[in-house]
């Protein structure tokens, strides 16, 4: 009748089709067939749309070094990536290799969708585990086994516009800043008449768990059985984020749902401080007339930095296991991949390679690239709730939205969210 009905019908159809396909797919588990040549498919979210050229270069070098193997790249935007990955696995058409981030890794490992890689790693004399950044190697272990080869990491820093700071006569941010320093500077820098905002930090799960850590709080109880982010420290962290929109940062209504509003604001020189990831460096460095630098984020009672880690996993159902392993290893550890990522300011390779990083540090802007590595001294990884990760993240983001839109006080919103998250832990 209308599209809605058709959407529902299509969804229902997809569900049934998927269940049938899943039934067929499951019989073919194991992936013991040792395909060493042929076409290997690779599904990624980090390459599109800005780094397809670089990925092509890595792929070309891999194919040159491994005659007989062809890599076929499929990309999706991060927002759609996991929906597509889930459906393709359920439908028995999983890519041979695919990118996974730290938060979602356990869900896939536990569900048996990933091929364990230890034996291949041991048998492969070209693979040197020590070349990988130890924290990243640890992050992609499940029940003591390696299920994905770490490929990249990135962290979130505070970017700032030097011109705006100088014009307002405010001292540049330092690594010793606390929230109070940031707030005072943001207030001085905000000039709504000129459309200039002092600060920008999204009010979401990822910012909240990190702010909580910066405030010395903890998201879950020590035994991991209970959500504890609704204590006084959590409330203060929520208020730190909620206090920005409408004062030093535009409100949701002022932004009006425009995509990349914050990016446009910063690159047009109308935003003094911007909490964002180092994946923005290539865009910022390429913006003419933008005089910017970066520093690790301010802590309140301690420093804590968000780090994102990605890895390449091999599908449990692949028929090209050997070739897939080679590609995953190449993406993570090869010199070509490391150099390409560093040269293009893509996410950083998850390797222990000081020589390679030295060349990265020498490049400007920004002058203080060291902040990327300083941040690793105080890592706050997101809490991981096994199969319920996206639900938990949505609960927290929604609670913050409720508080921001006045549907509940911050304390009420956090209490309700903590109860829901505790209920998710079984």
């Amino acid at each position: 009748m209308t599209t809605r009905r058709r959407v529902l019908a299509a969804a229902a159809g997809a569900l049934a089709a998927v269940s049938l396909l899943a039934a067929c797919g499951q019989d073919a588990t194991g992936g013991t067939d040792d395909g060493a040549t042929g076409t290997v498919t690779y599904f990624t979210f980090s390459a599109a749309p800005d780094h397809l050229k670089e990925l092509d270069a890595i792929k070309a070098e891999f194919e040159k070094q491994n005659p007989g193997i062809t890599v076929q790249v499929q990309t999706a935007a991060y927002d759609d990536y996991f929906t597509k990955l889930q459906t393709s696995i359920a439908g028995g058409t999983a890519p041979d290799t695919f990118e996974l981030n730290y938060e979602n890794f356990v869900t896939y490992a536990r569900a048996g969708a990933l091929l364990p890689l230890d034996e291949r790693a041991k048998a492969d004399k070209d693979y040197d585990a020590n070349r990988l950044y130890p924290k990243a190697r640890e992050a992609f272990q499940f029940k003591g086994r390696l299920y994905a080869v770490p490929s990249t990491f990135s962290d979130v820093v505070l970017f700032y516009n030097k011109k705006l700071f100088d014009a307002a006569g405010v001292a540049h941010p330092t690594a010793d800043w606390t929230w109070a320093d940031e707030r005072a500077a943001a207030e001085k820098l905000t000039d709504k008449a000129k459309g200039i905002y002092g600060d920008y930090q999204p009010v979401t799960f990822h910012e909240f768990y990190k702010a909580l850590a910066q405030n010395g709080g903890s998201f879950l109880s020590e035994d991991g059985k209970k959500a504890t982010f609704n204590d006084a420290k959590g409330l203060e962290a929520a208020q730190w984020l909620l206090g920005k929109p409408g004062t030093v940062q535009p409100t949701v209504a002022e932004i009006g749902g425009k995509a990349d509003y914050d990016t446009a604001l910063f690159t047009s020189g109308k935003l003094a401080m911007w909490h964002n990831g180092i994946w923005q460096i290539s865009k910022l460095a390429g913006t003419a007339g933008l005089d910017f630098d970066m520093v690790t984020e301010a802590g309140n009672t301690r420093k804590a930095n968000a780090v994102f880690m990605n890895a390449t996993a091999v599908s449990a159902n692949t028929k090209k296991a050997t070739a897939a392993w080679k590609w995953a290893r190449f993406l993570g550890t090869s010199q070509k991949a490391v150099d390409t990522r560093l040269a293009s300011n893509w996410e950083l390779p998850a390797v222990n390679d000081q020589a390679a990083f030295d060349s990265y540090l020498k490049k400007t802007p920004p002058a203080n690239r060291k902040a990327v590595f300083d941040a690793l001294a105080d890592i706050a990884l997101p809490p991981v709730l096994d199969a319920q990760q996206s639900k938990m993240q949505d609960i927290v983001t929604q609670a913050l939205e409720k508080a921001a839109s006045g549907q509940a006080t911050p304390q009420q919103a956090l209490d309700a969210a903590a109860a829901s998250v505790t209920a998710l832990i079984k």
Binding site: R4, A12, L15, Q86, I89, T107, A111, G256, A387
Partner: protein, 319 residues
């Protein structure tokens, strides 16, 4: 088989007339058979499609609703666990409440506006076809396009609606960024899109009302309101019943507008049932739970439609 035989038996006299009738008779048999085969042939594709893409998935969904399944791993049978969990799920109850709130706003508005438009479109004016086509244009547009259009018009920052209001010195609301206005925004967009559909159905109903009834009433001194109440509306009741049932069924399944305009926000203020189904199935990895929601929604729609079918005896007049 019985058809042709009765036909033969019914015309015993023709048999005596020799070859020609017999020839005609066997031709009739063949024709009937051919008609039946042709009918089956024409029906088969849609029957197969209906079975494969409608009945099949529904049975499949019912089966999946008894499983715990994240799309990636192997489903585990959990019996009615998903349904008992639904009973205590405050978020689902809130979504149900928002869906009913949507219906409470959408249904009366779309019916009243649809009726008003139908009455206007019935008038004899030059270029009436153009007006009719204009009102029907949103109906054949995609939901996503219409939702994006309204999201832009109602943009709290620089949307046309708030700019116009500001020109008159009225501060516009935050529309879809404000929890109190999010659902009204969705209702507005939906009514705008569906009013043409309701109007076209009602217009057809209006045109079927015999002129003489209205003329007789006018002679008796009935005014516009009196004629509308005592003749037009009763005569229109079958059409009204039809659009009410259809609009209610569609209204329960409201999704696209919500997904595009608010994503259920802010803070879940416009979260509706189908949006929850999609989230649970495709982002939270709980396909079984989402299927249980679908089945509950299906049962509710069925129930409401049955009640309506029963109630229609009281107010729908068939000539």
């Amino acid at each position: 088989m019985t058809g042709p035989r009765t036909a033969t038996a019914a015309r015993p006299t023709e048999r005596a007339k020799g070859h020609a009738p017999r020839f005609r008779r066997s031709g009739a048999t063949r024709r009937r058979l051919r008609t039946a085969l042709a009918a089956a042939g024409f029906l088969a594709p849609s029957l197969l499609l209906l079975l494969g893409f409608w009945i099949g998935p529904m049975v499949g969904t019912a089966w999946v609703s008894l499983q715990d399944w994240n799309l990636i791993g192997v489903p585990t049978f959990v019996g009615l666990d998903n349904y008992t969990e639904l009973l205590g799920d405050a978020e689902f109850h809130a979504a149900l409440g928002h869906t009913l709130a949507y219906l409470a706003g959408y249904l009366p508005l779309v019916l009243v506006c649809g009726l008003a438009v139908a009455l206007l479109l019935e008038a004899k004016l030059p270029a009436m076809t153009l007006y009719r086509a204009t009102f029907f244009l949103p109906v054949i547009s995609s939901w996503v396009a219409v939702s994006l259009l309204w999201k832009g018009l109602l943009n709290p920052a620089d949307g046309l609606v708030n700019r116009t209001l500001a020109a008159f010195g009225v501060p516009g609301p935050g529309w879809w960024t404000d929890p109190d206005w999010a659902m009204p925004s969705v209702v507005l967009a939906s009514v705008w899109k569906d009013v043409g559909f309701v109007a076209v159905i009602l217009l057809a109903g209006l045109q079927a009302i015999p002129r003489d009834l209205l003329e007789a009433a006018a002679l008796d001194g009935a005014g516009w309101w009196r004629k509308l109440r005592s003749i037009t509306l009763p005569m229109l009741s079958p059409s009204l019943f039809f659009v009410t049932v259809i609009s209610l069924i569609n209204g329960f399944q409201v999704f696209d507008q919500v997904w595009v305009m608010t994503e259920g926000g802010p803070g879940g203020a416009s979260s509706v049932v189908v949006e929850q189904i999609v989230k649970y199935a495709f982002s939270y990895g709980r396909v079984g739970y989402a299927s249980a929601m679908s089945i509950v929604l299906f049962a509710m729609i069925l129930l409401v439609t049955l009640v309506q079918l029963r109630l229609q005896r009281r107010w729908v007049h068939y000539e």
